[in-house]
Amino acid sequence: MDITRHWRLRRQRYALEGERCVHCREYIFPPRDICPHCGEEAGPLHTMSGQGEVYSFTVVHDPPTGYEAQAPYAVALVKLAEGPLITAQLTDVDAADIKIGMPVEMVTRRLRTDGPEGVIQYGYKFRPHLAVS
């Protein structure tokens, strides 16, 4: 299910490929035709650093079909270091420890599975930033 869709979005799902507007210099994720900031033609492509911080978060207890096995799980609005907000699950963290403003970084994880025969969809999630020692 949705195989072509996930293939089409692979550079966003696996690498956070967005854009940086050549006209207003704002960052955009995901890529689009028209820059939402200045209204000019968007581009060129720009890969985000994957660093950001938690802008808001919640915990989903009543999941939609296809996500039952993971529940409960935390979902956040993450403010990327480049500026755009992105909706993503938080992983490798206790819900009780999540705070607004917490530094996080992108990792690639399993998003959902469509039964034993179905496709496994991978994509970005975010985890607490691991300090470099």
């Binding site: 869709r5 979005l9 966003q12 995901p30 939402p36 802008y55 808001s56 978060f57 919640t58 915990v59 989903v60 207890h61 009543d62 999941p63 939609p64 079909t65 296809g66 996500y67 039952e68 993971q70 799980y73 979902v75 956040a76 609005l77 755009p84 907000l85 992105i86 909706t87 993503a88 699950q89 607004i100 998003l111 959902r112 969809q121 994509g123 999630k125």
Partner: protein
């Protein structure tokens, strides 16, 4: 543009209608509106609906509803704008009549949500969000509103319990509305102790889904003779969009499409926010009630909860809201909700709102939100 009158209204109760199908509900509300108007032939029926394809595996609702209403041959099609589908159908009907293209147009909002299990309905509702960049992360519709509410609490310094009055007011009014899904009053204590469903949103912040249909029949003013009842004129009709995804908003804590629509509708109607007697707003979650009051100019940014705490939103307050229970207590059969708001606004303006009748109801505002603020339809109705 011609002046447009709402001549007839109809509704079913909002509940779990196990014995009734989508077509039964739409037909009942539509025929009730035609009977109320004393009209037996219509030029068109526009059906506001969000989920029929996903839940009832039924599309092509224009033909279905026209046929079952005995109006085979009339123009008909479905109008979809997520939870704002009802008001979108009403606006389409308004534009058709105002333009002079059609005379008698019926707008019906209908939703049948109890055919499927909870997780399937949750997944269907999530289709109002951005499928590629929101829903794929397993975020639900209540989850998106929880993200907004938590940030709102953080930004403006409110406590969760400061939102309780929105739900208490809605339940108080819903208890007096025979068509409401939830008809029991709630207390501050109930609100504070309600089960958390998606922090910080608890069960009593959230509106219940349900099955239901509501309808209105529109005609040009010059085809409507005066009668004993006040004529209800559509004085303002406006719609605006914001980004589909919450994360793409310039400011996720401001309903800019509500602001734009309200500004346009006020200008068309020639009224200011201070002249609005009551406001049927889209309280799918209590946070949306607060943000709607702010976006439409009734409260300062971040100060929506203050109006609830001060009692301004009650039936005897400065700006009564959700006078028949709102989404919270009347219920939220998503694609029908916008038409329930219109029907309830007409009831107030006609003086037919029963136990919830306001002492002063001459100009009413109704606002229907699709998605988490992406498509918003604003209408001002006036009694004359």
């Amino acid at each position: 543009m011609r002046e447009v009158i709402v001549l007839g209204i109809g509704q079913t109760r909002v509940e779990e209608h196990w014995e009734r199908s989508l077509r039964d509900l739409a037909t009942e509300a539509g025929l009730a509106a035609m009977r109320d108007a004393g009209v037996d032939r219509i030029d068109a029926v526009f059906v506001g609906n969000m989920l029929s394809g996903q839940i009832a595996h039924q599309e092509n609702l224009g033909a279905l509803v026209a046929d079952w209403m005995g109006q085979r041959g009339a123009e008909g099609f479905k109008v979809e704008a997520a939870c704002a589908s009802g008001a979108a159908a009403f606006r389409a009907a308004f534009l058709a009549v105002a333009s002079g293209a059609l005379d008698a147009v019926l707008a019906v909002g209908v939703e049948k949500m109890t055919e499927t299990s909870g997780s399937e309905t949750t997944a269907a509702l999530a289709s109002a969000a951005d499928a590629d960049f929101e829903s794929v992360q397993g975020i639900t519709f209540v989850g998106l509103n929880a993200l907004i509410m938590r940030r709102y609490l953080h930004a403006f310094g409110w406590k969760h319990t400061d939102f309780g009055e929105f739900s208490i007011n809605a339940h108080a009014n819903g208890a007096r509305n025979p068509n409401a899904r939830l008809r029991q009053p709630i207390t501050e204590r109930d609100y504070a102790r309600a089960r958390m469903i998606c922090e910080p949103i608890n069960l009593l912040d959230a509106s219940p889904i349900g099955d239901g249909a509501a309808a209105a029949l529109l005609l040009p003013a010059d085809k409507v003779a005066g009668g004993p009842r006040p004529r209800i004129k559509i004085a303002g009709s406006a719609a605006a969009t914001d980004s589909l995804a919450v994360h793409d908003r310039k400011d996720p804590l401001f309903l800019s499409a509500a602001h734009l629509g309200a500004r346009r509708a006020f200008a068309q109607a020639g009224v200011t926010p201070g002249e609005i007697d009551f406001f049927e707003l889209h309280d799918a979650f209590s946070i949306l009630a607060a943000m709607s009051l702010e976006a439409c100019g009734f409260a300062e940014r971040g100060q929506g909860p203050r109006m609830a705490l001060d009692g301004a939103i009650r039936l005897d307050g400065k700006l009564p809201i959700c006078t028949q229970g709102g989404l919270k207590a009347r219920g939220h059969p998503v694609g029908a909700t916008g038409m329930y708001q219109i029907v309830e606004t007409v009831q107030q303006l006609r003086g037919e709102a029963g136990e919830n009748q306001l002492s002063k109801a001459r100009i009413g505002l109704a606002q229907n939100i699709g998605g988490s603020g992406a498509s918003i339809f604003t209408h001002i109705l006036k009694a004359e």
